[in-house]
């Protein structure tokens, strides 16, 4: 896990790239003037907002991150078809359930990404991260964290936990190296 970027004038390289793309998309043009203005904004905004931010881990393996993004997009489409079938099918056959998934990640940013991924993919919505932050004394790190998820149709709890850990959590650990 690394918190500091290579260049001090570019504290968050991926956010700068995203700001640049959003500026070009909002204006819907690639004229030189807009490219220059977008580049200036992409450098100035992260520098100006840096004092308010808490440091988050940087993406260390960009290639793997892009591959993981496409895997998640593919999973979103297939998962949506499954959920649509479950919703249109008979309600009485559904067995909902709450499942606690043990987490290996420790930083809040990768956990947020994992929770969002779980919410968008097969029949699950992430509900809570245990233990509660309020129940810990100030600044203490819990040894073990759990993610509570709600499953629309629970068939095999162990298989679901293994899928989430291998398919979604392991690449995130690799990307952020933590």
């Amino acid at each position: 896990m690394r918190l500091e970027a290579r260049f001090s004038w570019l504290p968050t390289p991926f956010r700068s790239l995203m700001l640049f793309c959003v500026w070009l998309l909002l204006n819907n043009s690639v004229s030189p003037g807009h490219i220059l203005l977008g580049a200036i904004l992409a450098v100035v905004i992260p520098l100006a907002t840096q004092p308010f931010r808490t440091k988050q881990p940087l993406i260390l393996r960009p290639g793997l991150a892009i591959r993981h993004l496409f895997l998640v997009l593919y999973d979103i489409i297939t998962a949506n078809l499954q959920v649509a079938l479950l919703i249109l099918g008979p309600t009485k056959k559904l067995n909902p359930g709450f499942v606690k998934v043990p987490l290996d990640l420790s930083h809040s940013m990768p956990i947020t990404i994992l929770a969002s991924t779980v919410s968008l993919t097969p029949g699950t919505v992430s509900a809570e991260v245990y233990p509660w932050r309020e129940s810990l004394p100030n600044g203490d790190k819990p040894e073990k964290r759990f993610l509570l998820i709600h499953v629309l149709n629970l068939e095999d709890e162990e298989a679901l936990i293994t899928t989430i850990k291998q398919r979604y959590e392991a690449p995130l650990k690799e990307i952020f190296q933590c």
């Binding site: 489409i77 919703i87 909902p96 709450f98 968008l120 029949g123």
Partner: protein, 113 residues
């Protein structure tokens, strides 16, 4: 506008409308809050993404040059749907909403502080 792109746009719009409708049917049909949450967070998001892709192709055909700004709304919805779902389920747990009888693993929910 060419015949092929009209077909593609029509199919994408129909898929989008279908998924949006499925999300709302899930909202009405399911018996408890936690199950209702699944429809709007997943089906509606994919439906919107499909509709906005269709709009992107349509406006690219209509004007000269491509128009890609519709993809901004799709990305925004894809990023924010899990967050609002998370906030909603958190407030539902805080209010101790009842889930239906056959829900398994209810004792995994811890009381909040």
């Amino acid at each position: 506008m060419s015949e092929t792109s009209e077909w593609i746009i029509s199919i994408l719009i129909l898929i989008g409308g279908f998924f949006v409708l499925v999300g709302s049917i899930g909202l009405v049909k399911m018996p408890d809050f936690f199950m209702r949450l699944h429809g709007p967070t997943k089906a509606t998001t994919l439906g919107m993404a499909s509709l906005l892709t269709a709009a992107m192709i349509y406006f690219s055909q209509l004007q000269t040059g491509i128009s890609a700004k519709e993809i901004l709304i799709s990305i925004f919805l894809l990023l924010t749907a899990p967050i609002s779902g998370y906030m909603l389920i958190k407030s539902a747990i805080h209010h101790k909403l009842k889930s239906i009888e056959r829900t398994s693993g209810k004792d995994n929910i811890e009381d909040d502080v």
